[in-house]
Symmetry: C2
Subunit: 691 residues, 2 copies
């Protein structure tokens, strides 16, 4: 189904041309509002850039967002070549998205729509948010189609879109759950707080936008517009309209992205209204904490409650800031981001400590085995930081993106693309009976969420700014796009990243041109060197973008050389489970131990990293191309209790004498690749045994 | 309301004589079954002992239980004098039980009954198990009345009992929730798994038994018998009867205690049937784990699921074993007890690691701040170990009882007796916003549970065995009871326990008599000496009962002298939060730090216990009679981070250099007394800083 890594531009165009006709209703509607997006190509470039055609819009379309410093490039503008991400992306379109389609069908998610038009006699299946499963999957498909992948699934998806749109009621309402006997529950405050009506529509809008940007097909987008413009806006909002509340934030992002297409400020205002909550809906405090909505976003002082809800709320709030510049939002977002990175984030980039409420814990509450770290929450974290990065161009946000992407997100999908983690713990023991990777969850939010991230990944590689280009991610790839002044620009990366810290970047503007190439120096890369055409550049600082301003000519070469030693990390003293434990990372990759890689008889729970008194850790790294799709493993001397602790009492008199340990070799693998072999124990944070 | 600590026997008799008349229905019924318990006192002593009158029955009545090694004494047989427990027990009857009555009324728990007879027009209030609140409170009152306390509340309670019994239907069914529209949900398998119908009746039986044993009043007991004999037994049980399942174990204990009164083996058999589950009711595995019922108890291999459910199931199963001697039960109980004490129990004696499902965690999952340690679960732990002790006479069970009672249970009620902990964490930070002690919970299981334990406490001090007497608990007290051969026996304890390890025990049999006085040597007391009439006795072993067999004469004196040094404890290597942390205990009391006792500016989360390289901990203990009702505090040098960790990054490069710490004095208080002053941080497990 997939075209591999090299999708020709011709194929993409062919795909786009074949897209379905726009319903006369929609065409008229868009025309009436003066926003037919498929502008003739003879328009001036500057206008095209400010009003990008559907196929030139990125994950977000920030072309007109006054408080965005960076602008997205379209997903199709980057072709990822053979390297780290190409494997994952190929699996995504050949295995994950197609098998998820079959699972969605097998689990009645589409029949929920069909039964309402009489084309299925199945009953309602799945939880209240089951519609969103379809929309998220559609979003993944939309991004993939944009890259020219998955074209043979296209007719199936078009038919599904027709089936979705077919149940839209004349009022604009569209939902498969609040029908029949449950019709009278629609839009009640109680339903809104738990019923995911607006959440479903938020995902519909995101799916519709991705499908539109990938194909030009407006059918789902128009249904979304009808829901928003005909059903929501006339009836809901500040008094005298009826109040609404975002029980699970998501609609905010959807509305603002819709606004970025339509220019209809009422959609932005509705998002702002929702972000502020409506005190006509009285909610107990624990509910507004859990929902991370229902009270003014700008009154939040910390991350708490349901982690995905909180992350999506932060995404919506950042989007709102980029459109309005409201400083109260920025202040809150900055406070919350400090909370995230100082007290709430796993070293994997995952978030959400508690399974109870799938929630953030208290400050520094970051248990390992019990970590929730829902895949969706790590994705929400990446999406939020993507927006913060767009707002500022600051490297600290890209660092969080990279940490989440390579670790807490990438761990969410099995290497074969058919099994998913719902939670992503930092330690695991299969003797608890838990199966950590599964093909299907009745709450199947994570699998299509992972699919949409992989499908949209090229769109995260670069941004443009008024003065040039930003590169965020490193992998073998080709950018074919233009600067904001319209100058064509190709950028080719050649690298072994993330296994190797050398990146060769060839910059080819359509004509020699002065602009700034903002080169990301990852936060972990404290020994990095940069040269342009062989000349070393000063001012390299880890965690920042190095602004390379010059007159760039075709064939100019940037060499980024990052030393990639193994880094032994410790957690803040307040993280009680990690006291005197360390985690190991190399480049952007977090590592872990799996018990099956250790000598027989060594239980991870009895093992430690052996460090000499005053000598640094001494790891050997080794490429194992046959292991887990090809990884660099790390080896170090460890120590294991001579007598397994399971034989010791639960409580005993304290002894200051070190436990008796024997030396054993330890082998670490990248965290993202864990749980891809036989069920075995895993741990990220390992005690230090200092002899 | 309370009589303080010295309730004369005359007062008790007066109370008993004043008890209400037995309804003619009940009298007839008991007579017909040949079990009028109020036997004339001229019966031979041996018969009286084998068939004890209501007022001679203890917490459990094991007189005829063939596989019980020990037998309970009645609660009234021990008078607790001024000392450690007298304060708590006085508060219990002057404050806790009376204020809980008012809260139960204010929260509609009694009106739930009254509305069904038309004497209240309030709606139904509280969760499905609200009836049990009344029954548990009644149980506490029953025990208190047995000790001669609370006599002036008696008319109120009698009236309440009448109001409860008044709603019993002709079928025997009695429940305030499954009425009106919910009537058709009664006894459905779904209702049984979540609706607490049998749980309510289990507590009704326990309340009824305690009230009966405290007063001779049978009105609630007879209603319980009617429910069991008329409604349950004819209709529910093995095929062809309808199946039942214990959604929340409790009925098992209740049925078996009822059997011990009535001798009706059908009641015991019903308990056995429930303990084994009925496979006609199909339940998903996660449900039977959570409920700790619905599958054969004897197939259990570990503690898991809802902690209170599991503990109550173990109680019922131990009761069943004591009646039947079924070795499969004993094997399972032994396995589960090993799991409890090797992998699942907090050092406080609390159990239940997770708030999610109020559940046991995985092996060694014992977080501190997040500990659930529900008061009810610690009580369930004590109740289970009380039964295991009765079955065996082994000291290891008494050690768990003492650990739970003095720490994880006693912490559950504020010193003023009006505020309760639902959960009992081992670390706490009020900045999380949690209020740990509250006067009322809508799920108000814990407060009356704590009240019944304090009210019944005298009944836990001693047991008899075929060869003599066992003493389990130490406090100033007087036993006035008899051996199983009928020989009268008084025992007076004089001690400063638990602050001081000296106990003087005066043994006064009604006549010189040979028997074994089993003297408990607590597990912590590894430096204990025993003398009888001044002569040292050999064979003292911590954690065992020292069998003192001799011809005891009036005025014989046992001196138990336990050294009570501060003990610094460590947890098993597998308890990840306690790695290189220690807990401090002295005698049976666990200690903790409260931030408000430490020097200003020292945050507990930045503090450690300072220990010299090879020198033992050196605590100063000091009596502070004005503090927290009078406690012994412990002082030790500590260390505090020079720069608070809250200013440090969440993750940083590992440094093997010790953190820079300054010396500070630390002051420890007993754990049971925490959270009785201003909201402040608390921790039990403190890191060790070894210089």
């Amino acid at each position: 189904m997939a075209r591999g890594n090299e999708i020709s531009r011709r194929q993409f165009v062919a795909t786009a041309v074949s897209t379905a006709a726009i319903s006369s209703f929609s065409a008229q509607r868009l025309f009436a509002m003066g926003r037919t997006d498929d502008r003739p190509s003879e328009q001036p470039a500057s206008d095209l850039i400010a009003n990008p055609s559907w196929k030139d819009q990125g994950i977000e379309s920030l072309a007109k967002s006054p408080y965005a410093k960076l602008r997205n490039i379209p997903v199709r503008a980057v072709t990822i070549k053979v390297g780290f991400w190409s494997q994952r992306r190929k699996i995504n379109v050949t295995k994950s998205i197609p098998t998820m389609h079959d699972l969605l069908e097998a689990n009645g998610r589409m029949n929920n729509f069909r039964r309402l038009t009489g084309s299925s006699n199945a009953g309602q299946h799945g939880p209240v948010f089951s519609d969103s499963d379809i929309y998220k999957w559609t979003e993944a498909v939309g991004f993939a189609l944009g890259s020219g992948d998955l074209t043979d699934i296209r007719p199936t998806v078009d038919k599904m879109m027709d089936e979705v749109v077919a149940i839209q009621e004349p009022s604009g309402y569209l939902n498969t759950y609040y029908v029949d006997d449950r019709k009278n529950l629609r839009m009640l405050p109680e339903t809104q707080t738990t019923g995911h009506e607006l959440y479903n529509i938020g995902h519909m809008l995101q799916g519709a936008v991705a499908y539109y940007r990938g194909t030009g097909d407006r059918r789902l987008l128009d249904a979304g517009i009808r829901f928003v413009d005909d059903f929501l806006i006339p009836n809901y909002g500040p008094a005298p309209k009826k109040p609404i509340v975002s029980g699970h934030p998501e609609i905010e992002m959807g509305l603002i992205e819709l606004y970025r297409i339509t220019g209809d400020k009422r959609q932005l205002d509705l998002a702002g209204y929702i972000l502020q909550g409506d005190d006509r809906i009285k909610l107990p405090e624990h509910r507004t904490i859990y929902m991370y909505s229902g009270t003014p976003f700008t009154a939040r002082t910390k991350l708490e409650g349901h982690a995905v809800r909180a992350m999506y709320a932060c995404c919506g709030a950042t989007d709102y800031y980029m459109e309005t510049g409201d400083q109260a939002y920025w202040k809150t977002l900055s406070t919350l981001w400090e909370d995230l990175t100082k007290r709430q984030m796993y070293i994997s980039g995952g978030v959400g400590a508690r399974s109870d409420g799938e929630a953030f814990g208290d400050a520094y509450e970051l248990p390992n085995s019990r970590a929730y770290g829902e895949s969706c929450a790590a994705i929400g974290n990446m999406m939020w930081n993507w927006r913060m990065l767009a707002a500022t161009g600051e490297g600290k946000f890209a660092d969080v993106i990279e940490r989440a992407l390579y670790n807490g997100i990438d761990s969410g999908m099995s290497l074969d693309g058919t099994l998913y983690c719902y939670r992503n713990p930092l330690a695991f023991d299969p003797s608890t009976g838990e199966k950590i990777r599964n093909p299907w969850y009745d709450v199947t939010c994570c699998p299509p969420n992972l699919e949409r991230i992989l499908a949209s990944l090229p769109g995260y590689f670069y941004s443009t700014s008024s003065n040039g280009l930003y590169v965020h991610l490193y992998d073998n790839s080709e950018l074919d796009w233009h600067l904001e002044d319209g100058t064509g620009l190709k950028v080719a990366q050649k690298t072994g990243y993330p296994w190797d810290g050398k990146v060769k970047i060839e910059v080819t503007p359509s004509q020699a041109s002065e602009f700034t190439f903002h080169l990301r120096i990852p936060g972990w890369a404290d020994r990095a060197q940069v040269s342009v055409n062989g000349k070393t550049v000063a001012g390299v600082r880890a965690g920042e973008y190095l602004p390379l301003r010059r007159r760039w000519s075709p064939g100019d070469v940037i060499q980024l050389q990052m030393e990639m030693p193994v880094q032994v990390m410790q957690a803040n003293y307040h993280v009680v489970e990690n006291e005197r434990r360390v985690a190991v990372q190399r480049g952007p990759l977090l590592y872990c131990l799996e018990e099956l890689d250790q000598p027989e008889g060594v239980a991870l729970s009895d093992a430690a990293l052996y460090l000499g008194k005053n000598s640094p850790a001494q790891f050997q790294s080794e490429v194992e191309s046959a292991l887990l799709g090809g990884v660099t493993v790390l080896r170090h001397t460890g120590a294991a209790l001579e007598r397994p602790a399971s034989g010791s009492p639960l409580y005993s008199r304290y002894s200051s004498a070190p436990a008796r340990m024997r030396r054993v070799p330890l082998k670490f693998i990248p965290y993202y690749a864990w749980a891809n072999r036989a069920a075995t124990s895993m741990q990220v944070w390992t005690p230090v045994f200092q002899a």
